[in-house]
Structures are given as structure tokens and as C-alpha cells.
């Protein structure tokens, strides 16, 4: 080839090559930056560890909220409290009481001043008649007689077993002496009674100071007067007094609603000298005599010459039927959430049942009442354990309020402080061994049986008591069960909590898993077992997100006895994209006391659990979607 041709060839070739190289580069149109870049990014890598420091102390106070049922006492110890109330009453029906108004006559055949007495005084004997001179002269005779005062008590109800005394509105008893002659021709006047002794029925109680002047009450039932003058009156009230009570103890029995009184206690006797004076001359024969009679008048006699007595009270032995309808102690409906789970067990050391018995309407019961309670732990309509029977019996003392503690351990538990005796309050304590069995599995309710079952009465009036008949006596019984969270073993509470609203932050992320390591410092004397479940926005469980169970050892109850447990919690996702669905984490913490512990522990609001030295470690990457979707 000629040189010029070579040159031309080289020139054209260079020109073409240069043009090609200069003007064309290899354009990859698939790299088009006018389109959006996908901003899905993998952040971190397997093993990326974030030191997070400490989580704040989670106090029991933050977990277990106090409310009407769960409270804190002065030492910040938790206790469960439920209560109920009832009242019982009884009435001893009124009785019908009447008393006779008898007339006491001298003993038969022994008038006050017989013929032979007159002859004796005049010094005559063996004659059949005697003429008395006109000169007045005193002829002293003797009057003695006995009569019975009928005191009846009827309409006695079966509640009354014995009447020992009956008190009534004070009644005036008036004794009036009447003298009379066998023959109108006898000209005698009663001048004076001397050394009169009237023995009243022993059942009558004379009101002190009520005996009329000139008379003396001796030995409680003898009226004695040295002289009672009669100044021409044919009949005269010689003495009056007030009675307010009849004593019937050991001298009466009740039969068929009627009181039978021993006759000897109903006698009224009179004895005394009667001085007659002749007022003129007259002849007295052997059949003639002068006599007296004593009219007894009690109150205002009514029909049949009987006086109705208004009984104010009666002392005796009463046994009314007391069968209250007792409101049960509602447990289930008032429980806080952490006690509702079926796994909950409350086998505490010292549950205490407090009875506070006080009169309704400020009317004290004037009677001692014995009671005992039978407690039933009811779940699903039936006893879930054997009923707990309190010791027979505990006494409710009369005329005072009563507080009784039934407890299980060393001493009763009362978060408000144990009550003490006071002038109008009597406090008792009673140990009962197995109260905790009632609430080991928290029941729906506790039924308190105070009723009567045939002859077995939970509440009965005992002893001798004085009651107002017809009066309704009511007692309010407030019962409260305190369950302090103090235990050796056998306590399980289940606390559930949840966090939600996480989806808003997580919906753009995916992850294989995460591992959290920490040291759990625990002062709560319960082993804590936590399970975590993941839910989506529609409350559906996400089974593909799994969390390791967390176990934290129980602490000793105080800051000084805290127990530290090393924890590693791993969360794994079967599909990293499940993280985008996560909206809620539900924590279920089963807190249980050690099964074999013999030490006593308390749950106190200041106990805490704290996660320390928390480190968060990635398992795989976190994939974040930063695109504007």
C-alpha cells in the first residue's frame, strides 16, 4: 500500500476511533437516578450491643395498686380487706301479771277480843255473860291472821325459761284495818293497835323509804309499828308502802306459759295487840267478840279485785331464737387484677377476722350473748374447702360493745391497731387454726353462718339477764376479714400488664431477634416468673414472636437482703417482618413464694425489683424501611 494511502488509512482510523471513544461511553440505563432509590436499610449487625444502664426500681407500689380491697398499713405492708355486716335482734314478749287484793282475817276461832278474854280482864270466869261497866276500860286483845296474795304471771312465751324477778312500775300498797263487832249491842271502840307486825309476802320488794311514818321495815318484808291509834274510825289505813318488784327466784316454775309460785312466799301475816275500850255499859255473852280484818289494796284494783301490774323488766333466763340473715363477705367482685388469676394462691400466715358488735340505735343489750361462727368459702356456688368453725362459744358481754378478733398466728392483725378495752367496749381475741384455708384459693365469697340449726344455735342468750319485756334488742355485727400478705410459703399472685401503641414506632422495622442481658436485683420475697406475649393491632397473638421466660429469684424482703439474678432474655422472630405487626406486649408475672420456705416474709410496698447493667444485643440486623410509603 502506498505511503499516502497508509497515512490516509491511519488518519481515518484514528479519527473514527477517537470519535467513538470520545463521544460514546457505555451507558447503563438501568442506573437511572431520576427514579427514587429504595431506602430499606440494614442497621447494625449481629452482636451489636447497646449498654443501657439501669432501669428504674420497680416498686411493688407501682405494680400493686391499692384500692378498696388491697391497702397498705402503717408499715407499708399490703393487706387484703373485705367486710360485711349483719344485725341480729331478739324480743322477749311481754307477760300478763296480776296481783290479788285480799282481805286478811284473824285466824278462825281466834277473834281479836273474844268473850273469855273480856272475862279474864274483868276477873270473871265460868260465866256465860258479863255486863261491862260504863266506865271506860281498855280491853287488850290479840289479832293474828294469815292470808295469801295471789300473784299471777301468765302469757309467758317459750323464750322465757325462768323468771327470777319481775320489775314493774312502783305500786302503792295500802293496808287498811277494819274492826268490827259480832253484836251491834257491843259498845266497844278500837283504841289502838300495839306492837303490830305485818309480814308481807317474801316475793314483794318494798321500795326503800316508801313505808309510811310510824312503821319500820324489818328484814325487808316485815312492817312493824309500836302503836297505831284509832280515834273512833271504824276503818283506817294503817300503813302504806310502795312495791316495785317481785322476787321469784327459787320459788317459781313456768309451765305451759304460766308461772307457778310456791304458796309459802305469797302469805301475808298480821300479828299484834288490839286495845279496845268500852264506850258504855253493855252485856256481852259468850258468843260475842270483837275482831279486826286487814284490807290489802295494791295499786288500783280492776276486775275481779285484781290489780294489773305493768311489768317493766324481768330478770331470768331467756332463750330467744336468734337466726340472723347474714350478708356474705364478697371477695371476688372486689379483687384487684393481680389476685384474679386462677393460679393465685393466698396461703398467708395470719388472716384475721374481726367482729365488731355494737347496739343498734344505742340500745344496749342487757344480756350476755354467746356466739360462734361457721365460715364457708364459696366458689361457683359451693364450698370449695371444709367450713371453718370458730370455737364454741365466744361471749358478747351485756351492756357494752364487743370486739372479737379471730386470728391464726401469734396475735391478731389489725392495720388500724388492735383495739383495747374501754369503758363501753370489751375486746377479746381468739386463735383459730385454719382460717387461711378459706382463702388459699380466693373464693367468690365467704359466708358467715350465725344462724340456728335446730338446737344448735350460733347465737344464744346465756345466764341470768334482766330484760325489758316487749323491747326489741338489736345488735349490729360488722365483720371484717384482714388478710395481711405475710406468709411462709404458699402465696402466688399473678400480675398482668401490657404496653401498647408500639406499632407506630415499629411498623417500618424488621429484625431477627434481640437479646437483653441484665442483673435483676430483687427485694420482693417472691420468685418472679415472667412470660411475655406479643400481639398485633387487632389483639391477635403473634405466635412467631417468642420470648424466653424470665426467672428472678426471691429477695429477702429488705434492701439489705436483695438477691441478684443474672438474666438473659432472648426474643426471636420466625419471620423478621413480624416486628412490623407488633403493637402490644403483654407481661404476665407469676410471683410465688418458695414452696419450702419456713421464714416468714411480708409484702411491703417499698420492695422493688430493678434491672441493672442492662445490655441490649442484636440478633442479626434491624431492617428499617425509610421509604415514603
Amino acid at each position: 500500500m502506498a505511503p499516502i494511502q497508509i497515512k490516509q488509512f491511519l488518519f481515518v482510523g484514528a479519527l473514527c476511533a477517537g470519535s467513538a471513544f470520545l463521544t460514546t461511553a457505555c451507558v447503563d440505563n438501568s442506573y437511572d437516578l431520576s427514579e427514587d432509590l429504595d431506602l430499606t436499610m440494614g442497621l447494625g449487625s449481629n452482636g451489636l450491643s447497646v449498654p443501657m444502664g439501669n432501669v428504674e426500681k420497680i416498686y411493688l407500689n407501682d405494680i400493686l395498686s391499692v384500692d378498696e380491697s388491697v391497702k397498705l398499713d402503717a408499715a407499708n405492708q399490703y393487706y387484703l380487706v373485705e367486710d360485711g355486716t349483719t344485725n341480729f335482734d331478739f324480743t322477749i314478749d311481754k307477760v300478763t301479771t296480776k296481783v290479788d287484793n285480799p282481805t286478811l282475817r284473824t285466824n278462825p276461832g281466834k277473834p281479836a277480843l273474844p268473850f273469855n278474854k273480856v272475862c279474864e280482864i274483868l276477873g270473871a270466869a265460868g260465866i256465860s255473860s258479863i255486863t261491862l261497866p260504863a266506865i271506860p276500860q281498855v280491853f287488850s286483845g290479840e289479832a293474828e291472821g294469815t292470808e295469801s296474795m295471789d300473784f299471777s304471771v301468765t302469757d309467758i312465751s317459750s323464750d322465757i325459761k325462768a323468771i327470777h324477778s319481775v320489775s314493774f312500775t312502783p305500786l302503792k300498797v295500802s293496808l287498811s284495818l277494819e274492826w268490827f263487832k259480832s253484836n251491834a249491842a257491843l259498845k266497844f271502840d278500837l283504841k289502838e293497835l300495839k306492837d303490830v307486825e305485818i309480814t308481807l309476802p317474801s316475793i314483794l320488794h318494798v321500795v326503800d323509804g316508801s313505808v309510811s311514818e310510824g312503821w319500820t321495815l324489818v328484814e325487808g318484808h316485815k312492817l312493824v309499828a309500836h302503836s297505831v291509834a284509832f280515834n273512833g274510825a271504824n276503818m283506817k289505813e294503817i300503813v302504806s308502802f310502795m312495791i316495785d318488784q317481785t322476787q321469784l327466784k327459787d320459788c317459781s316454775t313456768i309451765e305451759n306459759g304460766k308461772l307457778s309460785i310456791s304458796p309459802e312466799v305469797l302469805h301475808i301475816k298480821m300479828k299484834g295487840g288490839a286495845d279496845f275500850v268500852n264506850t258504855g255499859s253493855f252485856t256481852m255473852t259468850s258468843n260475842d267478840y270483837m275482831d279486826v280484818r286487814l284490807h290489802i289494796k295494791v295499786g288500783t284494783p280492776g276486775a275481779n279485785n285484781k290489780t294489773n301490774i305493768v311489768v317493766t323488766s324481768a330478770k331470768g333466763v331467756f332463750d330467744p331464737l336468734i337466726n340472723p340473715d347474714v350478708e356474705s363477705i364478697d371477695i371476688a367482685s372486689e379483687l384487684p387484677d393481680f389476685l384474679k388469676d386462677p393460679e393465685v394462691r393466698v396461703n398467708v400466715s395470719n388472716p384475721t377476722l374481726k367482729f365488731n358488735v355494737y347496739p343498734k340505735n344505742n340500745v344496749q343489750i342487757p344480756a350476755d350473748v354467746d356466739f360462734y361462727a361457721t365460715l364457708h368459702s364459696i366458689k361457683d356456688g359451693q364450698d370449695q374447702v371444709s367450713p371453718v368453725e370458730f370455737p364454741k362459744y365466744t361471749r358478747l358481754y351485756k351492756n357494752t360493745s364487743n370486739v372479737i378478733y379471730f386470728y391464726q398466728d401469734v396475735a391478731p392483725y389489725d392495720p388500724n391497731g388492735l383495739e383495747a378495752d374501754a369503758p363501753s367496749k370489751k375486746v377479746q381475741t381468739q386463735k383459730v387454726d385454719n382460717i387461711s384455708s378459706l382463702i388459699s384459693v380466693l373464693p367468690d365469697r365467704i359466708e358467715v353462718d350465725l344462724g340456728a340449726n335446730g338446737n344448735d344455735k350460733h347465737i344464744r342468750v346465756v345466764g341470768e339477764n334482766e330484760v325489758a319485756l316487749g323491747q326489741k334488742y338489736s345488735q349490729v355485727v360488722d365483720y371484717t376479714i384482714y388478710v395481711p400478705f405475710e406468709f411462709k410459703n404458699g402465696v402466688t399472685i399473678v400480675y398482668t400488664d401490657e404496653t401498647d401503641g408500639m406499632n407506630e414506632d415499629l411498623k417500618d422495622y424488621a429484625a431477627d431477634g434481640i437479646q437483653i442481658s441484665a442483673e435483676a436485683e430483687n427485694t420482693i420475697p417472691l420468685d418472679l416468673k415472667a412470660t411475655i406475649s406479643a400481639y398485633d393491632m387487632y389483639d391477635n397473638l403473634i405466635p412467631g414472636i417468642q420470648f424466653d421466660e424470665v426467672d428472678v429469684k426471691a429477695g429477702g424482703g429488705t434492701d439489705a437482703t436483695a438477691v441478684t439474678t443474672a438474666l438473659t432474655i432472648k426474643a426471636t422472630l420466625t419471620d423478621p417482618n413480624l416486628l412490623k405487626k407488633l403493637d402490644k406486649l403483654e407481661f404476665k408475672i407469676n410471683a410465688a413464694s418458695e414452696a419450702t420456705s419456713n421464714a416468714t416474709h411480708k409484702l411491703v410496698s417499698t420492695q422493688y425489683v430493678q434491672l441493672k447493667n442492662v445490655k441490649l444485643k442484636l440478633v442479626g440486623q434491624i431492617v428499617a424501611d425509610f421509604n415514603d410509603n
Binding site: 497515512k7 490516509q8 491511519l10 488518519f11 484514528a14 479519527l15 476511533a17 477517537g18 471513544f21 470520545l22 461511553a25 457505555c26 451507558v27 447503563d28 440505563n29 438501568s30 442506573y31 437511572d32 437516578l33 431520576s34 427514579e35 427514587d36 432509590l37 429504595d38 431506602l39 430499606t40 436499610m41 440494614g42 442497621l43 447494625g44 449487625s45 449481629n46 452482636g47 451489636l48 450491643s49 447497646v50 449498654p51 443501657m52 444502664g53 439501669n54 432501669v55 428504674e56 426500681k57 420497680i58 416498686y59 407501682d62 405494680i63 414506632d505 430493678q610 434491672l611 447493667n613 442492662v614 445490655k615 444485643k617 440486623q621 431492617v623 424501611d625 421509604n627 415514603d628 410509603n629
Partner: protein
């Protein structure tokens, strides 16, 4: 939208039409009027360049990474593939294998963007040699991104510590008034020199040395010494909340001014060893530029340690308003933000050496075909962490008087390149177009995919 903005920023950084300093492919070209840029002894003809427009435009970049190192084509099955027509993603995508990504990076990932814009040049014979008066606009921007930085971003947590050294970005922009002279000593030796007065327009240098990130189970720690110097026309830092003691949030109050002044020299020589063998050597940009009242900024603390949240994390107890876990993570971010920003450290005059360049060449004319010449050129730019080295083998052919063509291949610190120049030379007209580094595979927006080696130069001059 933000995806596009991010992409544009990345693309702009990667494809900024910056000029190569000189078109080294013309070093051995007889028709080139611009060889004196590399060796003042090669100034051998009179000419006038096209003033202001296309007199001598050099734009180029070098770099050992490309767009494809950071932007990946998505594959079917990748999360987000095809969603909203997206098929490109960043290196942070979980399906981008960390080993592949980091394996394609160098220990130091460098990029250099250069512009030289000849505003006017007049070369003339006088003083027993050839002289030149020229005015050029020059801009050099250099970026160094250590691999450890990307290892930390991609695989944070895989290692316990990351040493990120020599992270930096620097830009210098100035006007250059050059006065050059070449002089033939004898038949064999020609020497040349150029004195250049430099008028600084804008300068900024950000560096973070010894950035140490430690991520152990008990503690995270970051320490480092970032700093910033800047002189941009005449300007001032702006501060957060207008508080002079607050962190810097921008530069404002920009008024016309030339904050820099410098002087540089080019020195060169050629020696004809044999008729067909000529060796040459030159050192250019030997000088300095002084930036007056350069704004200085540095953080107010050089270390940050995190070994757990400052407050115990809220867990349902006492909410202090700042102890929830989200708040505390935010606080970490705030603390980091407080550590990283820069605070005004006042002003300081800064004198900086220019990146001197050494060119050593050897040219051989093929005796059997004299229009064909081969040359070897070694270039070394001394610029600290932004240094650059290249060895170029060139073939130049001038089959006719008015046409010369050069083709070369080079191995450099940014990889292998190939270049070419075409020069059309008439008696009073000269036009050249060429590239030291052909564009390789590029994106649709002409952003280099595999390395940043690219350049284009063209110019028009009028030989006298």
C-alpha cells in the same frame, strides 16, 4: 422525594464536571499549545487562546470508586424490589452483602475533582525564547473516605472498635495569573519556568483525624478531632440562635473579596538524549497560597462516651419527663449532635502549600515512521492524603501536518485508564479535544459506575 435528593447529591458529588488539571495525553503532542502546563520547557509556539470561552477547558475526576460501589441494582426477592418502580437501592440495603460491598472498597476511597478553565492566554516569542501570559480559573476538590467509615455504617457492632483516619474533604478555588518563559539553551537542552500569581477565591478544608469508635458491651466511645477551615470570598459563619458561642449552622454575609493570595512556580526542562529520544522533567505548582482570616471551626469536645442512660429508664414508676427509653435514645442523639458540630474558633491566616506535581517523561520517535512517537510519562502529585501517582504510556501519531492523534494507557493510584486526544492544527487555528480517562460504564445520568476516572478537555487557540 428524599430518595431522589439523596441520589442527586451522591450523583453530583460523583459527577461534578470538574476539570482535570491538565490534559496529560497532550504531553507528547507536537500540535498541542498547552503542554507548558505540565512542563514550562515545552512552551514552543506563539498563540492566542480563545478568550473566555473554550480557550482551554479541562474537566476531570479521578477516584478509585464509582456509583456502583454505593448504589446497587435490586434483585427479585429483595425487600422493596419493584415497589413504586424502585429498582435501585443503597449499600445499606440488608440484601447487599457486606463482604461484597466492603471488598470492593479500598482502604482509602479517594476522589478528586479538578477544573482548569483558561480565561485567556497569549504566547509570544521574545527574550530569546517563548513567553506566555495567561489567566486561568482553577478548582480542586478532594475527598478521602476511609473504608472503616463504611464498615462502621454497614456492620456497626461486628467489631468492637473502628479507627476512621484521614477522613477529609478539601476544596481550593483560585485565579491564576501566569507568566512563563521557555528558553532553548542548546540543541539538546531547553528549560522553562513560569511564575504564577494566585488569587484565592474560596477554600475549605474539613478533616477528621483519628476518629475512634469503640463499641464494647459496657461502653460506646467516640473520640476524634474534626476541624474545619474555610475562606469563601468574604464571609462569616452563622450560628445557631444567632449565639456567637453556639454551634455553626452555615456561612453567610458573603461579599466579593479575594481572601487568598499566593505564588507558585513551574520549572521544567527537556533534554534530547538522542535524535529520537528526549527526556523531560518538570515540577509544577511549587508554591503556596495564603488564606487570610480563614474561619476556623472545631467541636467543643473531642470525645463522647456512653455507658448507659443518664437516668434509670422509666418502667412505670416515676416519669421525670426525660427518663422514658425513647427520650433517652433521643438524648443520645442530642449528645452526639452536640459532639459533632463545629464551633467558631475565630479566624486565622492559613498558608497552604499547593499540591506540587512532578512530571517526568521520555519520548521516542519511531525511526522507520517518524510521525509515530511513543512516550512514557510519570506524574506524581504531592497532596498528602489526596496524593496521586500515574504512569502513562502514550502513542502519538501525526500522519499529516494538520492532524495529530494520541492514544494512551495509564496505571494510576485510581486504577487503569485510557486516554486519547485529537488535535486539528491549521496555520492559525488549533482545536483539540480529548480525554485523559475515558468514561467507562456510566449511569443514565453519565455518572461513572466503577471508578471516577474521567476527564474531558477541549480548547481552541489561534497560533500566531
Amino acid at each position: 422525594m428524599k430518595n431522589k435528593i439523596s441520589a442527586c447529591i451522591l450523583a453530583a458529588a460523583l459527577a461534578l464536571p470538574v476539570a482535570a488539571q491538565e490534559l496529560r495525553s497532550t504531553y507528547f503532542m507536537q500540535t498541542s499549545n498547552n503542554r507548558h502546563e505540565m512542563n514550562p520547557a515545552l512552551l514552543d509556539s506563539s498563540y492566542v487562546s480563545m478568550p473566555l470561552f473554550m480557550g482551554n477547558l479541562n474537566i476531570g475526576s479521578t477516584g478509585n470508586f464509582g456509583l456502583a460501589n454505593f448504589v446497587y441494582k435490586m434483585q427479585p426477592g429483595w425487600q422493596g424490589y419493584g415497589v413504586d418502580n424502585r429498582n435501585l437501592t443503597t449499600f445499606m440495603h440488608p440484601s447487599v452483602d457486606a463482604g461484597d460491598f466492603l471488598g470492593d472498597l479500598k482502604d482509602n476511597n479517594r476522589m478528586s475533582l479538578n477544573l482548569k478553565y483558561g480565561l485567556v492566554a497569549v504566547a509570544f516569542k521574545a527574550f530569546k525564547g517563548t513567553n506566555i501570559v495567561e489567566l486561568n480559573l482553577r478548582s480542586n476538590t478532594n475527598v478521602n473516605l476511609p473504608k472503616q467509615l463504611f464498615a462502621f455504617m454497614k456492620e456497626a457492632g461486628k467489631n468492637e472498635s473502628y479507627e476512621i483516619s484521614d477522613l477529609g474533604i478539601r476544596t481550593e478555588n483560585f485565579l491564576e495569573i501566569g507568566l512563563g518563559h521557555s528558553h532553548k539553551i542548546n540543541d539538546k537542552i531547553t528549560v522553562g519556568g513560569k511564575m504564577k500569581f494566585l488569587l484565592g477565591i474560596a477554600y475549605a478544608d474539613f478533616s477528621a483525624d483519628n476518629l475512634h469508635v469503640q463499641m464494647q458491651g459496657d461502653q460506646w466511645a467516640i473520640s476524634g478531632q474534626p476541624k474545619l477551615s474555610a475562606a469563601i470570598l468574604k464571609s462569616e459563619f452563622t450560628h445557631e440562635n444567632n449565639n456567637p458561642s453556639g454551634k455553626i449552622d452555615g456561612i453567610d454575609d458573603v461579599t466579593f473579596g479575594l481572601p487568598g493570595f499566593g505564588l507558585a512556580f513551574d520549572l521544567g526542562a527537556t533534554y534530547k538524549v538522542l535524535d529520537d529520544l528526549t527526556v523531560s522533567a518538570a515540577i509544577t505548582d511549587l508554591g503556596f497560597i495564603k488564606w487570610k482570616d480563614a474561619l476556623q471551626a472545631a467541636p467543643n469536645r473531642t470525645s463522647w462516651t456512653f455507658n448507659g442512660f443518664a437516668e434509670d429508664v422509666y418502667a412505670g414508676g416515676t416519669n421525670t419527663g426525660s427518663n422514658k427509653i425513647g427520650d433517652q435514645f433521643e438524648q443520645i442523639g442530642d449528645d452526639l449532635e452536640e459532639m459533632l458540630p463545629l464551633y467558631d474558633q475565630g479566624k486565622k491566616n492559613e498558608t497552604r502549600a499547593l499540591a506540587a506535581t512532578l512530571n517526568i517523561g521520555a519520548e521516542y520517535t519511531l525511526p522507520v515512521y517518524r510521525p509515530l512517537r511513543f512516550g512514557f510519562l510519570y506524574t506524581s502529585r504531592f497532596a498528602g492524603k489526596y496524593s496521586y501517582h500515574q504512569g502513562m504510556l502514550s502513542a502519538n501519531i501525526r500522519p499529516v501536518k494538520w492532524f495529530e492523534f494520541a492514544l494512551n494507557g495509564a496505571v494510576s493510584s485510581s486504577g487503569c485508564t485510557a486516554g486519547m486526544v485529537i488535535d486539528l492544527h491549521a496555520k492559525h487555528f488549533n482545536f483539540f479535544i480529548g480525554a485523559d480517562r475515558f468514561l467507562g460504564k456510566v449511569s443514565k445520568q453519565f455518572i461513572p459506575l466503577h471508578n471516577m476516572n474521567s476527564s474531558v478537555s477541549l480548547g481552541m487557540s489561534f497560533p500566531l
